[in-house]
């Protein structure tokens, strides 16, 4: 039986989510579904980032009774991608909020969420 490293499994999941999100953005015409696609891409990118920091057999970089400071650098995963992912999640949430606000505004002014309806509008 072939066993895959943890980071490979996580990366495949993350890249898969990115592809599903991109497909939702490109193939759907409803703006809400496109926003869901963007959110899926966000989650996928976060998973890929975290998986890039995994070190074989590593644990969370938080020192406590079980993780002495002395040998910590040999036993923990890379903390930098985790810290960057916190940032990425918050920014993703902000972008989603702005997209939803635009969707509400478009619906109020045009009465539809179909992307085709906005193709020729220059108002």
């Amino acid at each position: 039986m072939i066993t895959f490293p943890v980071s490979t499994v996580m990366m495949v999941t993350g890249f898969g989510l990115i592809l599903i999100g991109l497909a939702a953005i490109l193939l759907h015409r409803n703006i809400l579904r496109m926003i869901i696609g963007f959110s899926l891409m966000d989650s996928g990118i976060a998973i890929v980032l975290v998986s890039l920091g995994y070190v074989t057999g590593g644990t969370a970089p938080i020192m406590d009774a079980d993780l002495a400071v002395a040998g910590a650098a040999q036993r923990v995963v890379d903390p930098i991608p985790s810290a960057l992912t916190v940032t990425a999640i918050v920014i993703g949430l902000s972008v989603t909020a702005v997209m939803l606000a635009y969707a509400i505004r478009l619906y109020r002014s045009h009465g539809t969420l179909d992307i085709e309806a906005f193709r020729h509008s220059r108002a």
Partner: protein
């Protein structure tokens, strides 16, 4: 039709790229040098056992400040975007707000104080254990969301929330400047006593900065949630 075919081709090509990236990636066996230095420096010179909090608040503190600024801009722009349009009749209300029901209502009464308490716990323990300002602030905002779902007629005092988050933001920057004056640089938390590694009052100004961040994020996300109800 043509466009759909092209889209599928683009997605397929990207899938090939991703497959090659995954195939060529080798899982790390040791930390990269920068990460190793963060892991050893964070408990020693910042006295915070949580390396991720050390990176977020000190080593990459400027990024965190920029991120908070982005959140602030989003909260401000939502008010503009969601303002009712002038000169157009309001669209007919398609949905009647229904009663949330007994379960949600009782759940709110039991859970709301507990969620807020847990949020505060996560915020103030950010330098010791998993957690921190962003995570705790998001938990607080989730509690506010439960409150708004259970009792839709609640009116949040958004003016007060805005004042709270602006004050937290100003204090955050002031603490950063204190770092320049009293310690090594902007957002350097070592101007307060370091304390003992793992103690509740330790790690210099990191718990203070983390608490301010939590208050700011919690208030900001509550305002964002509230704006979407109009």
């Amino acid at each position: 039709m043509m466009q759909r075919v092209l889209s599928v081709i683009v997605i397929g090509l990207l899938a090939v790229v991703f497959t090659r990236i995954v195939g060529a990636y080798v899982q790390l066996d040791a930390l990269r040098p920068l990460a190793a230095s963060y892991v050893t420096l964070s408990p020693e010179s910042l006295t915070t056992p949580n390396v991720i909090t050390g990176i977020l608040i000190t080593y990459r503190g400027l990024d965190t400040l920029g991120e908070v600024a982005v959140l602030f801009m989003v909260a401000a722009s939502l008010g503009l975007l969601l303002k009712p349009l002038e000169g157009q009749p309001k669209p007919p209300k398609a949905f009647q707000r229904s009663d949330p029901g007994e379960i949600v209502h009782s759940g709110k009464q039991v859970m709301f104080p507990m969620i807020l308490t847990f949020g505060a716990y996560v915020i103030v323990n950010g330098h010791l254990s998993a957690g921190g300002g962003f995570q705790g602030g998001a938990i607080v905002a989730a509690g506010v969301m439960l409150l708004l779902i259970a009792t839709p007629e609640t009116r949040l005092n958004t003016t007060l929330l805005s004042i709270v988050e602006s004050t937290a933001g100003i204090l955050f920057v002031l603490l950063g400047i204190l770092g320049i004056v009293l310690a090594g640089g902007f957002l350097d938390p070592r101007f307060l006593p370091a304390g003992e590694l793992g103690g509740f009052i330790s790690a210099g100004a990191i718990p203070l900065i983390s608490a301010l961040l939590g208050i700011k994020v919690g208030a900001e996300l509550s305002v964002v949630i509230d704006k979407f109800r109009t």
